[in-house]
Symmetry: C2
Subunit: 150 residues, 2 copies
DNA sequence: GTAATTAAGTTTCCTAGTCAACAATGATTT
DNA sequence: AAATCATTGTTGACTAGGAAACTTAATTAC
């Protein structure tokens, strides 16, 4: 017997290898639009939810409120997101995409489509379908829910 | 038609969600041994290669030499890794596990085994085998090679 | 109706990477 | 043998996120 199992014996090893590669390739693509993957994830969530308080984004993205606060600030500085003060609750505010931010959504979305199609295009249809099915089953059975950022 | 595809339409989305969950769970487990995932990956690579120059680890782990330099330093401080000056080349040195570091390998390896088995244990054998097969095919066909850290 | 508690966001400090500049040494050219 | 060029590893400036302290405002308890 050996003292230590091989890392390559683990599904998690291959999972991370592939996942990192997809993300890195996507990061490279979105950087052409001067946006990071986290920023895209944020904007895409906002597109579905706007106007929404930062706390909802934190929940959805599985990030701390501190991280969301800084991420939002970066996007405000870039002119892609704007804050609106709440009248009922003076502590709170809501976030929305600016016109410029909203205009970027379809562009970034098609980069995301392209990236996924390109990366997983080396699989046969059967393989691709099986992979999707198994990943979704895993997420379901393990009760995963937050939108992955990195 | 919609302006933007759903993130959940992408295989990469589910991939990241699952991969992040495995990593986070593993990070929690290894922290009980006062080690980070990057540190474990480093030590496990060293276990196979020692004594080896930092540059080889950087290559294997897909990290910059700067990152490796700092990671090695942290492990030296923890007493898990040691440096040996090279005689032929005064710029170079090689890294090895200390006795203490080597003693941790089987412990951490079994945490890794446990983590993988536990996480993917919700899959049927057929699903698990299919997942492994497809991930390896993907890595192969896309020419991926570095040991994933995070 | 005031005090204590809870909630929303921000800020500070910390960790862990990248990238690029660097010092020191070694290799190559001429 | 000197000058140039390449390589090894470290350092410093910067980025991005987490944890927890903090500020301000709202809610609850009494």
């Amino acid at each position: 017997m050996t003292l230590a199992s091989e890392p390559t014996d683990h599904t998690g090893y291959w999972m991370r290898m592939v996942s990192n590669a997809v993300s890195q390739e996507f990061a490279r693509k979105v950087s052409s639009e001067d946006v990071t993957v986290a920023e895209w994830t944020f904007m895409r969530a906002l597109y579905d939810l706007e106007p929404t308080p930062p706390s909802a984004l934190a929940e959805r993205m599985g990030m701390t409120k501190g991280a969301i606060s800084k991420l939002a600030e970066r996007l405000v500085v870039k002119g892609l997101v704007e804050r609106t003060e709440s009248q009922e609750d003076k502590r709170a505010h809501s976030l929305s995409l600016t016109t410029e931010g909203r205009a970027k959504i379809p562009i970034l979305a098609s980069l995301a489509d392209e990236n996924d199609a390109g990366f997983f295009g080396v699989l046969t249809n059967d393989e691709h379908e099986a992979l999707d099915r198994i990943l979704k089953a895993l997420a379901e059975r393990r009760g995963l829910k937050t939108t992955p950022v990195d």
